[in-house]
């Protein structure tokens, strides 16, 4: 397994919440396995709605949070065991871009800090002058003018500028792997394309990327493999064009069908087939997590959590509908062609 750049094995994170004075388990991430190859320049998208545990997964991989069970391996070594120089190297090589381009800046300091701090901590520049030079180079690489940015406070920059500073940070640090947690969901469309293009440039230069998003279109733009997360569990995994064109899991089908179609004559699909479960019915914890929302729920779905089932072409999904190889009942053809959504 040492061939992988990043690998998680049965990764789980349980939070305890107090309800009515007694602790209740909330499974944010549950038994997630994912792999990013070591060849460099690989992209893996993680797609899921808000609350599906995406951000928790990012924090676990980055070592910002400890898993309740399972492990994260970076180049075959357990991230939780990194100390000292190993840990510093891991920090240097694995970086992140977060969703909110404002919250990542400490309002107490100037914007320089997010660039200067890693340079200093990772001993990347031999002199102050060199550090300054490298910071300016990286800012120019993302189309920012250094004198517009350096010495400013975060609130003096626009949202797009702030997010580009984060890209400059990637340019500066040249990480092996970047975990991008919804990096474009809070910036406008024009900037989004530019951001993704810069990310693709970096990919071509050998940087691998774990791209976390709720938006199938952006992950299609980046290409590579994708996995779909529902309530902390992987429900489907496949190359991204298979996900878009031949989704197998009912949840993925729902996601794909809700992509808006750029055709004024066509109504966006607003209503989904009704769930097979009566509202108010209590559902045990044993069954499929998607049970209550699933239009095709069967008896077996209540009793058992469906395992991952392969359907070929590197695609697999966790759904009992695939057990008889009969494919998905009912026709739910994808509503859009991928070319339209770019």
């Amino acid at each position: 397994m040492s061939g992988a750049l990043l690998e998680t094995r049965s990764l789980s994170r349980v939070f305890w919440q107090r309800r009515l004075g007694r602790p209740v388990q909330v499974r944010a991430v549950s038994d997630v396995n994912l792999t990013l190859g070591s060849s460099g320049g690989e992209v893996l998208s993680v797609v899921g709605e808000s609350g599906s545990g995406k951000s928790t997964l990012a924090r676990l991989i980055l070592g910002l949070d400890r898993p309740s069970a399972g492990n994260v391996f970076y180049r075959g070594e357990d991230v939780a065991r990194f100390v000292g120089a190993k840990r510093r190297q891991f920090r240097r090589e694995v970086q992140a871009v977060f969703q909110d381009p404002y919250a990542i800046f400490n309002p107490f300091y100037t914007v320089d800090r997010v660039l200067a701090q890693p340079l200093r901590r990772f001993h990347l520049a031999s002199s102050l002058h060199e550090a300054q030079q490298r910071m300016e180079d990286s800012l120019r690489a993302v189309d920012l003018r250094p004198r517009d940015v350096l010495g400013r406070y975060p609130h003096q920059l626009s949202g797009g500028e702030r997010q580009r500073v984060m890209l400059a940070r990637l340019h500066l640090l040249r990480p092996q792997l970047v975990i991008a947690d919804e990096p474009v969901s809070m910036i406008d469309a024009a900037l989004r394309t530019m951001f993704l293009n810069i990310l693709l440039d970096f990919r071509d230069a050998g940087m691998s990327c774990l791209f976390i998003t709720h938006n199938l279109e952006t992950s299609y733009y980046l290409g590579g493999n994708a996995l779909v997360l529902y309530q902390g569990r992987v429900v489907e995994r496949a190359p991204i064009d298979r996900i878009l064109h031949a989704p197998k899991h009912p949840y993925t089908q729902m996601l794909v069908s809700s992509i808006p179609v750029p055709d004024p004559k066509k109504r966006w699909k607003t209503s989904l087939p009704e769930s097979a479960i009566e509202s108010g019915e209590t559902v045990g914890s044993a069954g499929c997590p998607f049970l209550v929302r699933c239009p095709y729920a069967m008896e077996v779905c209540r009793r058992q959590d469906p395992p991952m089932m392969s359907v070929g072409d590197g695609q697999e999904a966790a759904c009992f509908l695939l057990a008889d190889r009969g494919g998905v009942r009912g026709s739910m053809a994808p509503m859009c062609k991928a070319e339209e959504s770019g």
Binding site: L64, R91, Q99, I104, N106, P107, V114, Q117
Partner: protein
Amino acid sequence: MRSTHWDGRLLAGMVITGLIVVVAASEPWLAPFWSGAAGPTAVGIFASWSHPQWAHPLGTNQFGQDILALTLLGLRNSLVVGLQAGILGTFIGICVGFTSGYFGGTVVDEALRTVTDAWLVIPSFPLIAVLAAFVRNLSVTELAIILGIFSWAGAARAIRAQVLMLRSMAYVDMARLSGAGHIAVIGQELLPNMYPYLGVGLASSIMGAIGSLVGLSIIGLGQNAFSLGTLIQYGLSEGVLSIGFSQIIVVPVLILIALFVGLNLINVGLDVQFNPRLKGSKSRG
């Protein structure tokens, strides 16, 4: 964050508190004007029970001491003890609050929070009073330490809540990704954003400590620290209100009220000035 507009309440509080502090700090130079070179506590220098006059603006007491000089001395001592105790209390509060908040949700946090909550439930005044009554001849510093030890819990709870909120900020994650360790995160990322709250904590601790100190003096404990409360206690025991020397009680009470108003305005002002949540609601409404 860096607005140039200052909250009026913060300014008013700082002016009131500043004036009182300046007067108290210059007591060693001011008091001799009325008490003479022997100092405010020297006995029998002037006539007893003289009414207010030019040489003694507030008159003298039974022992021929100048009341204005005594009031200044009491104010100075009250502030010194309050400041020492407040700093100690805030320091303990910072240590406990930061540790508890930073490791929020862990066993460490659970334990510290239990202790803090218990400390808040304990009626502190009788305990301090019992200590002061049984340990005779408490020095001024010892008294300040006791007051400080009993006044940290409120600050700790407020700081914990704040740290818990700040800790989840993305810039903390960013700093850790930039290679910062726990200590660097606490010191460089969290602490600077906490300064206003530390100010609030300090002001509250000082208010609590001065309140307890004066209270102790009023019931005749902790006599080594000649505070404004000592004057009040003297006034009550001599029945000065009925013999026309009410200034012995009224002046210290007015000074203390002004001090509490000033410190509390600083508290409120700091919160309004630096709390982004309050700012947001202001622009919304």
